[in-house]
Amino acid sequence: MAAVTARQGWARVGGLVWNARGAALLLIGLLIYGRLADPFGLFIVASALVLSLLALSVDLQWGYAGILNLGPAAYLGLGAYTYAITQRKITAGSPTYLAFALAILFGIVLAVIVAFPAFKARTLPVYYALITLAVALILQRWTAVSYDLTGGSNGLVGIPLPDFSLPGLDLKMTTAEQFFPLASGVVVAAYLACLWLTRSRFGRLLAAIRDDEEKVATLGYDVATTKLIVAAIAGALGALAGALYAPLAGTAHPSLFGIAFSVQTYVWVAVGGQGTLIGPILAAIALKLLENRLRGVSADGYLMLLAAVFMLVVIFLPKGIAGLFDAQAVRDRFRRSRGGPIALAPVLERPLDEPHG
């Protein structure tokens, strides 16, 4: 009995390691890149990593729970401004713990304010999508005209890098290169947390809600509250992205709420692979590096290339680039081509109590 339990325990550890292989590979890749790249490269990848948190938040909502939030940038901007204003007005020169905590808190609060009435009233998904878009645009407009608090359309500049100092321990960041390990660590941790969440019983519930909300409600689950939890987690992730982006870029400006950031995030999720978590992170890094290469040549050329990549992926790879490497999908394709479940269907039509063959 003990041997069986031990074996089950090892199997579970093995399963976890296998599931986390994406995180391990990502971490190794980032460690190698951190050693080899120049400061500008580190800055580019660090900003891609930070923004990939927003992509993770979109993937969690869209890829796993079927919630279409067209204004994810609302949380990016909110997090950025919360960090910037807190560091300027409340905790100037002090460690940045409060700024991060407030950003995450406000992200959750905004998500709940937007999602609660919509989900409880069972608003149609398309209306919810429009509400989220409107919220982002309203916040963009508001920050552009609130000069005293947000610096108006110029935004806020000179935002200090994070400072995680503790009494007797100086952990204040002074260069952008020091930001790279922080961004890497946060993204890998967020990825693992999302992976755990989506593989849990809660994740199974999300998948069911994505497929058929009404059916899930008849199973006794509170669909609105479940979706609200997802929106709140996504809000926290998006605001954390903003709180990390503002000090990295050194500025917070109204365009952070803008449609460009929201669209970019959806492109990353679609190209990387909706419902894969790792795909959007890799797409963020790859497309940000590509953007950096091509922008020097032609800014418009990059946008056209991005649009072309997006269209090709949506048409030919609905599960994105990561879908190509999805072991389950490959197995399914193999099984089908060998006459697996599909070919067996006529046989299974017979009642199961009737002996087969």
Partner: protein
């Protein structure tokens, strides 16, 4: 004084869509432990009645009482938690989830315990299909899976909307066995068109016509009724 043997009662239950009275002042009493069949021509309001009882669409008027509690206006999840569960005419399963995960979701068991979901799968004959994706199941098996999900919730009352739709005679017979077995632990209300199937399982039959209750009785009484024969049974054979 309410009859303690009645598990579900509707009083003057109505649902109108504009000028159409899909369900019109329906008074229904379902007795505990019965298999209660609801029959009637297409458009008689049978599925709408289920939708109103299960909270999926609000009633225009009237009320639904389940186990002495008024459930009119409650959400589908609240009604389901009280022990009133339902299946759908077209099986609604989650294509990318395994059979086992379906009953796991319905039973709310921890993955390491498995008694309830194994029992539910065994009762519908799907125990050996546990690892298959629901999307790969045959139509009849999807209907069984819906039944297994309902059973895994340990309900007091199950509403089954045409459990044999799209099945051959042999499969219908198997479903009849499952429904009879399910009735050992729960009251069952079944909407059904297949009159042979109804004959084999029904303790009590209600005939709906144009949203109203036309007749009630045993299947023998219903089959003898001239009015029922005229509006419904005559049509189907």
């Amino acid at each position: 004084m309410a009859d303690p043997g009645v598990v579900l009662r509707t009083a003057g239950l109505s649902r109108h869509f504009g000028g159409v009275r899909a369900v019109d002042s329906v008074d229904l009493e379902v007795r505990a432990g019965h298999i209660h069949c609801i029959i009637g021509p297409n458009g008689a309001g049978k599925s709408t009645l289920f939708n109103v009882i299960s909270g999926m669409i609000p009633a225009t008027a009237g009320r639904v009482v389940f186990q002495e509690e008024t459930i009119t206006g409650k959400s589908p999840q609240a009604i389901s938690r009280l022990g009133l569960v339902r299946s759908f005419q077209t099986p609604r399963v989650f294509a990318a989830m395994t059979v086992l995960d379906h009953v796991l979701l319905a039973s709310r068991e921890r993955p390491e315990n498995g008694a309830r979901r194994r029992e539910a799968l065994a009762r519908v004959g799907l125990l050996e299909r546990g690892d298959m994706l629901a999307g790969d199941l045959a139509h009849g098996e999807k209907k069984r899976l819906e039944l297994a999900m309902a059973l895994a919730m340990r309900p007091r009352l199950i509403l089954l909307d045409e459990p044999t739709a799209g099945m051959n005679a042999h499969e219908s017979e198997a479903i009849a066995g499952i429904v009879r077995e399910a009735a050992s632990t729960a009251t069952v209300v079944v909407i059904e068109h297949d009159i042979d199937f109804v004959r084999g399982i029904a303790d009590w039959v209600t005939v709906l016509h144009k949203g109203m209750v036309l007749r009630e009785g045993t299947i023998a009484e219903i089959e003898q009724d001239q009015e029922v024969r005229r509006v419904y049974l005559g049509d189907i054979g």
